[in-house]
Amino acid sequence: TVGAVVLDSKGDLASATSTGGIVKKMVGRVGDTPMIGCGGFADNLVGAASATGHGEAIMKVTLSRLVIFHMEQGMSPSQAADTALEYMNTRVKGKGGIIVISKSGEWTAKCNTKRMAWATVKDGILHYGSQHGEHNTKPL
């Protein structure tokens, strides 16, 4: 699964997610990706999110909307992502990851799997990583 979330200079947010699903899935199996609020969500009033991971678990907790809900309640993107991923893990034993931007441009990339490749561009700096705690930067 791949995804992107973007905040433009007008303050508009967007989320995009795309996937091939899981290996040897049943014909017709559809995961979280095309489900609004599961594979992705965006609302200029709060933030935008794009998810990846165990699709059935992500759908059960509507992961992207859950992260945005936590942000509506005052959490930062990082806190909201951690809280939602922890809920998914404890409630339905779900593993995955999520990228998030708030309406003010605060961003995060979190996962409860071993790895998730991610990259961010903001303020002329490229940030990227894949393992927990890995955060590299390059000036553009």
Binding site: V2, S15, T17, H54, G96, R115, V121, K122
Partner: protein, 165 residues
Amino acid sequence: MVPVVVVHGGAGTALTCEELCKLGVQEAALAGYHVLQQGGSALDAAEAAVIHLENNPIYNAGCGSALNELKDVEMDALIVDGRTLDCGAVAAVRRIANPITLSRLVMEKTNHVCLAGEGASKFAKAMGIKEVSEESLRTEYSIKMWEKTRHFNEGSDQSEESKSG
């Protein structure tokens, strides 16, 4: 407002090739950022970044997608506009290179949110999207992964990797 682009290339226990995966997401983020610099919208940039990843065979989307039980490619995609809450999606769509572009057309050209399967393919054709061969979406790696799990029934291999998209 300071523009921001964030992309991911999928979560899991292992990356096919970690350095290539990290490079691919950097290129995709820059592709999205370039669109913003050219005056594109957040939607344009998100779509461009995802197209970049769909076209990169090391990721599980577009070319490089996981194969289903019949060894075919069925893909899903979603796009959301935070300004209006408009959204468009396609599910189990086959034989197109960029499902994210089709999902945007669902959002912009229909009154619906999601089109699935054959209906999505017919809509793609009506929108002038070129059909591609199944072969062009398969990769050596996706075939290898399918072969590796061919003795399992769907869902019987309970490894985290097998459950994640």
